[in-house]
Amino acid sequence: MNFVFNAAVKDLRRHLRDPLGLVIWLGMPLMIGGLLSLLFSGVEKAPPRPHLLVADEDGGLIGDLLVRAFAAGTAKTFLEVEEANTREGRERMGRGEASALLIVPPGFRSAVLRDRPTRLVLVTNPAQRILPGIVQEALEMVVESIFYLHRLAGPEVHELLADRADAAQQLTQEDISRISQSINETMQGARKYLFPPVIELGSSLDQAPTAEQVNPAKLRLPGILFMALLFMAGNLSGDVWRERDLGTLRRAACTPASTSALLAGKLLAAAVVIFGGALVVLSAGMLYLKLPLAKLPLSALWSAMAGVTFFLLFLNIQLYATNQRAGTVLTNCIVIPLMFLGGSFVPFDSMPAWMAAIGRKTPNGWALQQLEDILFDSTGAGSLATAITIVLASCVILFLISERRLRRLI
């Protein structure tokens, strides 16, 4: 046991003599994660409302009606409407200050009441796609509602508004009464379906109570941590070649201690470095993202266990390589694709479905999902125990394989 401890201390001292390496292993993922967080920080804010400018060239009544309609009740949370004149509106649209500009042409009110051809012009902001689309859909509903009003009460309205030059053609009291009764009968007929509406649209937001609900910035923390773990494991695993070149590996093999003890010492040193790195990244991330620090110990422990497994996996690859350069090349060939597929650069939800399915089955992708469950979801003791058992079993198998290979190399 003394030998294992001494070997671990020796390796730790060697690692501490290269602080720049430690800084790079931890600093690079933190920097990448920080940049990605800054890049996507805007998505956490509430979605903006479409901003509609209304230029009423028809005397101001329609524009005033629209502003009042969309400023009342729930509509004001949906759309922001502002009156402007046409020239000012076009200038502001040119500067991108609004989502759309509605131009009401002269004679619009008269044409609508008499059901004559006319048009509304909607100038949309080309830099936006969804907000002008919302405005367009809302205005299409207004246009269609005018069509339906004409279907219901159009003839009566036309009769009321018809031009009458001759005094004899003016509407009499009986005419007005007849028209009113006609409109009333139409409304009575529509009552069956409209008051109240027989079709109701119920809307709901269906978000599964999983990590999908979590803030996107928080979901990047496990990916950044596992990037750091993969960097550390890959570089720590190459240390066996450095010791071989220095001759200390053969010298250690000449001692009465077994190869297993030597390897256990290296494993212990790597575990301490990986645990320390995980603790630093998790602490920084959890403080920045205001996550509960009560989950830090279990998260750090799980991350360290995963990191040790990666270390043993890469150590095996290094030991089966012909030289240090070949080992480094092989390790990099595996680390980079694992980082991409395993959710270290991009969360699984942002990947194509087939890529995410593969990524979740990679060792780091699987371990990352367990970490997400620990950080953002209440993971069950049973599932965590199963995951820990799998990791420990993997460590034992990889340790035995690497010990056997190391014995042959020495």
Partner: protein
Amino acid sequence: MFRDAWFIARNDLLHALRERETILWVFIMPIMFFYFIGTITSGMGRQGTGKDRLGVQIPEDAGFLAAEITRRLDAAGFQIVPINGDKELDAQPRWLTIPSGFTENVISGKKVVVKFSRKNADQSGQYDQVRVARAVYTVLADLVATTSAAEQPEPESFKRLAEKPRHLRLEVVPAGERKEISSGFEQAIPGTMVMFTLVVLLTSGTATVINERCCWPARSRDPTGWHW
């Protein structure tokens, strides 16, 4: 002078190309980065038909009014995906559920609720909400307009109503030309090439100079002379 410089350049290049790390970082890794970053970022845009997928659960006895709703949803830019069970709903970002006996209940004046569910609460969710509401409530408006004209609510009467001229129209014009922001492979390939050019020039290039200056005797043991 140029001959000497050419000599050094040619030999350094041959020496660098003999190393596997050079082949890996200059030729293999960039292609890997192109593929991964291009695939992931091209998935962030619209896919396939360019329409938003909308799962629609319609019972067999829903009637012609349900078909009217789906027709209008298709015209509103949705890709209609028929759903046969609750399990298939989970795969959809948004879905609409039409109750059983929809047409019969509506025509008889019984209130029915059409449920629209979505997974996103952002701007696109609001846009979806507006489009679905327009499709559903225009069907109701068609029903009211048809019955007020003393016609039976049926597909032919709805078709006649749709063919009536609409004198008021909304003309949509963009204020200028839309700037298309490149994504997917259009952005990944040039971006990755610039990244690797900088990485290879700044690391391998400078490392080679330092190696030759300081560590020439050690190159026979560790040709890179670079310890992480």
